[in-house]
Amino acid sequence: MRRVLVTGLGAVSPFGAGVKAFWAGLAAGTCAIRPLTLIDAEGFRCRIAAEVPEIAAGSPRRSRADRLALGAAVEALDDAGLGGEERGETALVVGAVGGGMLEAEGWYWARARGERAPGWAAALRSMLPAAHGETLAHRLGLGGPRHTVVTACSSGAVALAEAAELIADGVVDCAVAGGVDAVTRLCFMGFNTLKLLDPAPCRPFDRDRRGMSIGEGAAFVVLEAFEHARARGARAYAELAGHGMTTDAYHVTAPQPEGEGMVRAMRAALAAGGVAPAAVGYVNAHGTATPQNDRIEARAIGQVFGSGRVLVSSIKSMIGHTMAAAGSLEAVATILSLTHETVPPTASLTTPDPEVDFDCVPRIAREAVVEHAISNSFGFGGQNVTLLFRRA
């Protein structure tokens, strides 16, 4: 097994384009969850979301999600300084759920009205989750192994784990990996229907939390074999020291009540990295703010690390749940917490849940020198992923 370094970061978030804007928003504890503008929310209990304010990347003819992905992936590649020749052998792993569904919905809604919307062929070509990978590979000249994983809300984190395996196994030296999702009608309506959305900005780990907020965005990283990065003098942000992927095999939407699959994922990541629980200082939680998730996740973290033994926070309090992008945006936030020696806050946390026996970094970012941090991502289907990062 080869060691895997993170040598490039890219993000397009509800704070705007770029890693700098992303971290500035997180460090300031700014909530980017606002009234929804992209789709009609009339008649729904929740009418807010964390939308990306402006997308500069890509032609407007591309899907919104493709443009989010392009913005983040281009930034990550530029940040890593990977040239054209190396890109031809670079792997690409994309975590996606909605694909270009926002535009395809436009086509289908128009079709239902008996209209023929312009540009519908382009919308259908970009509809599937795999379309992002095709767009990125084509535009950025990425010719290595490419695949798209759909593991619901854990997709972005799974993409990083998958890419890390390709590098660790010696299949490639470099990989671009991340997740992307735009707000879609299906997603917004679906979570409303499940009554999992809070009408107000979400409050992870708060006693009075009432559910999630939807968000959108993209984050990609460049992963690189240790030897390859060192040979070309690349800067390393962190080491992706291990990961764990498990399945609850319990329920399609609900997590296993004891967090058994979550515990296995966290322990597998620690074992893969050869890291003791006591060496981990920060857990970037999945922290969706649903009553069930936060309670079960806190219990699982407690089983692995001991109650109160690590700092825990959820950046969904600021950017909402960005679906397939969540795992990769949260991975970037975790890496930045190591490099900036600052843990981002759970911005909206005012009344800690007594069942959550951790310091969840309420409201204000915390200075903390941490050697190892993990990022948890869970999804429908009982899909659990933990990424373990080590300071470079």
Binding site: R125, P145, H147, V171, L186, T247
Partner: protein
């Protein structure tokens, strides 16, 4: 270099559910001796397609599951259970799952949207929403077969099934899991035909599921499993093409990488991903010719027999294992199979430029 050099990967179970074949590896072998095209019907709009009879599927799933699960999930589960049963694997020992799909539960997704369009927010179904996420087949199957290790759903045009098997093989070879159930599944929906017409894809569509049980060779041998074939090498790459497009580049590396990992110079025969989608099929022919040279290899695709769906690629891998065991390559016209030797190449090239190559050989 390759993980596949570290641990052998063998096939110990097969499950096939489509309009022509329902069963494990013996049923597939019987059909392969004289493959006959499944009957086509106007199942999806004006387009001819190969559809599995509902009564056949109903006979494979117990009524309770039948009521609870979407059709594409029932297809997945039926094929997955056949493969698990043939392999005799104990899921409690650690079982992963990799599902390839091109369209996911498209029918439920459309039904969910139609509910809103008909009645507004009151028409939305909380039960249907989880099915709009493409991992719904993996989620329901993982529960049913107790797969608790990694669970992946892989989406890519044309080659989802082959790629799912290749990805699962790399997980087994790398020592991350001892057994993985891998394959592909798709169902037909009338709206698919309308979309394919818009996209200029005129291939024959089908539906069904094929799953294979892949195991680490030492583990399979230790428990005395019957070995149906070996995946000696696998690789996947990306060729430049626009989304859902057909590219021009013919130079590719996946085939050479897969052969290199299998320590083979050339295959003896091929299963290719031709499906009747003329521009894509022509591109694949050029890519194969560029990789393998002027020699003409005995080549077969079962796309015209079964209709293209994500299960087809996985079925090609299972069929290649049969060919490797028997030395027989089926005759597409239903005549006597041809005698072949050496290892087989299962190749897939998708719209959008995804490429996968697997080298399959006998035990």
């Amino acid at each position: 270099m390759s993980s596949l050099q570290r641990r052998g990967v063998v096939i110990t179970g097969v499950g096939v559910v489509n309009a022509a074949v329902v069963g494990a590896s013996p049923a597939l072998g019987t059909w392969l001796r004289r493959p006959r095209a499944a009957e086509r019907s106007r199942a999806v709009g004006a387009r001819e397609a190969v559809r599995l009879a509902e009564a056949t599927l109903a006979g494979l799933i117990d009524p309770g599951e039948g009521r609870r699960l979407a059709r594409v999930c029932r297809l997945t589960l039926a094929a997955a259970r056949l493969a698990v049963a043939e392999a005799g694997v104990d899921p409690a020992a650690g079982l992963g799952l990799v599902v390839g799909s091109e369209l996911g539960d498209f029918t439920s997704t459309i039904a969910f949207a139609d509910g809103y369009l008909a009645r507004g927010p009151a028409g939305l179904s909380a039960l249907l929403f989880p099915s709009t996420v493409m991992n719904t087949m993996a989620a329901t199957t993982a529960i049913a077969v107790a797969s608790r290790e990694l669970s992946l759903t892989i989406n890519v045009p044309t080659i989802s099934g082959e790629l799912a098997v290749a990805r699962a093989a790399s997980a087994v070879a790398g020592g991350r899991v001892d057994a993985v159930l891998a394959g592909g599944v798709d169902e037909l929906d009338p709206l698919v035909a309308e979309m394919l017409d818009v996209l200029g894809d005129d291939g024959v569509r089908g539906e069904g599921a094929t799953f294979l049980m892949l195991e680490a060779e030492p583990v399979a041998r230790a428990r005395g499993a019957s070995i149906l074939g070996r995946i000696a090498g696998a690789a996947w790459r990306s060729l430049p093409a626009r989304p859902w497009g057909v590219g021009r580049q013919v130079a590719s590396r996946a085939i050479h990488e897969a052969l290199s990992r299998a320590e083979r110079a050339a295959p003896g025969w091929l299963y290719a991903s031709a499906s009747g989608d003329a521009p894509r099929d022509a591109w694949e022919s050029r890519v194969l010719a560029a990789a393998l040279g002027p020699r003409r290899f005995p080549t077969l695709s079962l796309g015209a027999h079964l209709g293209h769906h994500a299960g087809l690629g996985a079925l090609h891998v299972a069929a290649a294992a049969w060919t490797a065991r028997t030395g027989l390559l089926p005759d597409a016209a239903g005549g006597e199979p041809a005698r072949v030797g050496g290892c087989g190449l299962v190749h897939g090239l998708g719209r959008g430029g995804g490429q996968v190559a697997l080298i399959v050989e006998a035990e």
